[in-house]
Symmetry: C2
Subunit: 202 residues, 2 copies
Amino acid sequence: MSETSELHTLPARSGRAVRLKKGQSIRIINTHGQQVVDTWAFNAEDLREFMSMEHLRPTIGSIRPTAGHKLHTNRRRPILTFVEDTSPGIHDTLMAACDNYRYGLLGCTEYHDNCTDNLFAGMQRLGLTPPECPSPLNLWMNIPVHADGSTEWGVPVSKPGDHVVLRAEMDCVVAMSACPQDILPINGENLKPTEAHYQVLD
Amino acid sequence: MSETSELHTLPARSGRAVRLKKGQSIRIINTHGQQVVDTWAFNAEDLREFMSMEHLRPTIGSIRPTAGHKLHTNRRRPILTFVEDTSPGIHDTLMAACDNYRYGLLGCTEYHDNCTDNLFAGMQRLGLTPPECPSPLNLWMNIPVHADGSTEWGVPVSKPGDHVVLRAEMDCVVAMSACPQDILPINGENLKPTEAHYQVLD
């Protein structure tokens, strides 16, 4: 893999998308160490096929994909392979992308940036409109699940510069949102969403 | 509630759907005690709004809804209230509806009945086509989640005649599939999918 690939910024509270050819990879970097990055992948030939958390969990037999796992679509085909992870491997598959409805329930009375709109905005920059907002792979989101099934809004356990590498198993579009959540501590106790970075690797 | 409501059969390996007015309820009965019933709910006015497991989990703070919980849509509104549960309360929100792709991965070389097609067939009996197959509420499906995030295909812990009651919080369509899974033991160790029953309660 090229180590000189251009470093792109995923601005705080924003979304971006990138096309990957089969065999290319993307490195997603938690630059400041406490930022959740909601991540999606769509089949480039048919956006109705996409990485799906509810199809991925039964296939890998876990609620937490780790390096080595293939990540499956709603048609049960691998779209990405989770190749590398320098963080402790705590990512979330359970929680929907935040949306303006969610911030309304959290007390916001005006529009709040959110991952669902970021997905659509990021894809729009490539001239693409996804058919829906699939449940994302929430990189670095720490959602402990207790024995009774209850969940918690944890703080990320990652550190600055931690990164994951995801390899395309088909031509696809990977979309990312630097989660704008600043009410719950999922982006750190300071409640300060930050930028992240990404690189495409041949 | 009327106790003389007509008892309808949900045939083994099949799907059915029923319209509920706001305030009406449905009782879903695990007649033989070991049958998983995949369950969906759609806003009757706009089928693009539906009960959504990934939106429900953050709202209730749990991977396991129990009696007393409101069950939310992809627009974060309550569509059903989980009113009553005579079983031990072990239901699943993690696993996608089975589909023909899934049975292919499990070794089937010919078409296998599946909950995804049962959803569409059940809705079609009412002249309706859902926009997609949302991740279902898998009543009585026992998926233990271990501390490391790994999952298991458990046997139901329910007994014959156990039932749940779900009350409509808006005019909606509730769809059900008596899961045809006969390879994994989710419908009991005998691997024999059975019928279930349901009643609409005013």
